[in-house]
């Protein structure tokens, strides 16, 4: 293998709900070998489990499949492979949906791979019988309290099964809950033949994955010096040029908007970072204090020096559970005395809800006056009385009916409360389920992944 070989990897989706323009433009506007897409957040799996309960063929990211419909012809023409954790709790259902789309497009010779085995919801009792504790990683609490309301349980699996799918010739690989960096580490291992014990290389790939995983957040999005960022509307999603030695350049396609410099890349490295010396992942532990960044021409940042070590013997598990309901409604109060009137409005609301027979306990009530520095509480002083505030009022409860009473009593404040209320255009708020998040660990030897590759 030539040391000069360069592999181009992009991220076109930083989160479930990111702009569709990202992937569409990445496959059209410049050269690319791999398009990775991140569809998962903590609560996503819980939502997808509910969809699957209602419809056994659902439970994956349907908008991924619709996006594929638009990019597949170009991907086939240019030889771009797609890797996404869009399979949710039903990678097989996702596989079938992609097969339908490929057939509808009249395409042939497309190999689709899926990775299964991350979903352990049905195995929890036997895993606990075998000694797994699933204690809450954040606070050490015992899992017993949520066992009967658990709605999803997924293992953050690593790169290996994705590598296996690529080795079997997959053009598209869909996983359930794999870590975001794994989507990037896998094609590097596949292309460069890295060993699963070469922890410095795997750490370099992990750092690459961390830089890429939020899409345009490393190319000028959400960056402090925003006035220096040209053409936000056409912001370029990130592309890395990866080398076999583990070094890489972060850049974006020629002619796109946005900005890639040491500061925009550093900003993304800082995002959701914990202990930088021990950045834990399924395939290695990465040391972010070894990363070296340097500007390598316009909109190019070179990354080198990354060191890693062996991973821990456990995988992280993401569990979710049903934890009642929440509701927030909004009314705008204008001045004079906007703050006083908004507070009065909120207290009238809670008093009226109580008149239906069951008051909402004080501790479950929520009142926030947006426009009074709620995001900078105690940090930025309110210089003068605001002439308008947004009252955000709501509650948490296990009683959905109680929250619906609050919802219906909100609008009447306009005609039967203090003067100066407007902005009810958003309509009556609805209670939504609270999805509790429960991070835990599992012994790696207890998890079995499966790879299926099928050709259309």
């Amino acid at each position: 293998m030539s040391q000069d070989k360069t592999v181009l990897i992009a991220n076109g989706q930083g989160f479930w709900g990111d702009s569709l323009l990202g992937p569409l433009r990445l496959v059209e506007e410049g050269p690319l070998d791999y398009l990775t897409l991140d569809y998962l957040a903590e609560v996503t799996m819980s939502i997808m489990q509910k969809q699957k309960l209602r419809n056994p063929s659902a439970g994956y990211a349907t908008d991924f499949v619709e996006m594929l419909r638009q990019i597949l012809p170009t991907c086939q023409k240019k030889g771009i492979k797609v890797i996404a954790n869009a399979g949710g709790v039903n990678p097989k259902g996702c596989l079938e949906a992609i097969q339908s789309v490929v057939k509808e497009l009249g395409m042939t010779g497309i190999k689709i791979g899926i990775v299964e085995g991350d979903d352990i919801l049905d195995q929890i009792p036997e895993l606990m019988a075998s000694g797994e504790k699933f204690k809450n990683l954040d606070n050490g609490a015992a899992v017993d309290s949520i066992l009967d309301k658990m709605s999803s349980a997924n293992v953050y699996i690593g790169a290996k099964p994705i590598v296996d799918a690529l080795a079997q010739g997959a053009d598209i690989v869909v996983t359930g809950r794999s870590t975001d960096p794994s989507l990037v580490v896998a094609p590097l291992i596949h292309e460069f033949g890295w060993s699963m014990e070469d922890f410095d290389k795997l750490a370099a790939g992990t750092v690459m994955g961390h830089i890429l995983e939020c899409g345009a957040q490393c190319t000028g999005g959400n960056y402090n010096d925003w006035r220096n960022v040209p053409d936000f509307a056409r912001i370029g999603y990130p592309v890395v040029e990866a080398k076999a030695d583990g070094t890489f350049v972060v850049t974006k396609h020629e002619g796109t908007g946005g900005l890639v410099n040491v500061d925009t890349v550093t900003s993304q490295l800082m995002y959701e970072l914990g202990d930088p010396v021990n950045y834990l992942g399924p395939d290695c532990t990465s040391d972010f204090t070894t990363i070296k960044l340097e500007q390598d021409g316009e909109n190019r940042v070179r990354v080198s020096g990354v060191k890693g070590s062996a991973p821990t013997p456990t995988y992280k598990v993401s569990m979710s559970y049903e934890d009642g309901y929440k509701i927030v409604g909004q009314l705008t109060y204008t001045g004079p005395d906007a703050i006083e009137k908004a507070n009065l409005g909120a207290s009238i609301l809670f008093e009226r809800v109580g008149m239906y027979g069951k008051p909402i306990p004080e501790a479950d009530r929520f009142v926030e006056l947006f426009g009074t520095n709620v995001c900078y509480k105690g940090i930025v002083k309110q210089e003068q009385e605001p002439s308008e505030v947004l009252l955000r009022v709501g509650a948490k409860s296990h009683d959905k009916k109680l929250l619906n009473i609050l919802a219906r009593e909100l609008a009447p404040l306009i005609t039967s409360g203090p003067v100066g209320v407007t902005g009810f255009a958003a309509g009556r708020p609805r209670p939504t389920e609270i999805v509790g998040y429960w991070p835990a660990l599992i012994d790696k030897t207890k998890v079995t992944t499966r790879v299926i590759v099928e050709e259309v």
């Binding site: 993304q268 490295l269 995002y271 914990g274 926030e368 947006f370 995001c375 940090i379 509790g436 998040y437």
Partner: protein, 110 residues
């Protein structure tokens, strides 16, 4: 000495970590990094966020990137999925930190 906001000497980014947040701050020069490493202590940050952060503040150093990484425990009103507050994920804790004023030697501000 000049009294300036950290906006003038650093950039920052923040996000959620369970029921807390992380705030990474990058000094604009190596000299400013040394100054912030000396002066931007966990006690100073905890006091700055006293009405937002109700848990411990931890700090990690990344001299290679001129970055200090702060963990603000119990700062999201109950955690990313359960909280009702506007800044549910601590997205602007970064800018909240950069509002801090500090007396910084003139030589570092050139």
């Amino acid at each position: 000495m000049a009294r300036v906001q950290l906006f003038d000497v650093a950039i920052a980014r923040s996000g959620d970590k369970g029921d807390g947040s992380n705030v990474g701050i990058k000094a604009r020069t190596p000299e400013l990094y040394e100054f912030l490493r000396e002066n931007l202590t966990t006690a100073v940050v905890k006091d700055h966020f006293k009405e937002i952060c109700f848990g411990d503040v931890k700090r990690y150093e990344l001299p290679n990137l001129q970055v200090l990484n702060f963990i603000l425990e119990d700062s999201l009103g109950g955690g990313g999925t359960e909280t009702l507050i506007m800044d549910a994920q601590g997205k602007v804790h970064s800018l909240a930190l950069l509002h801090m004023e500090m007396d910084i030697p003139d030589a570092l501000l050139a």
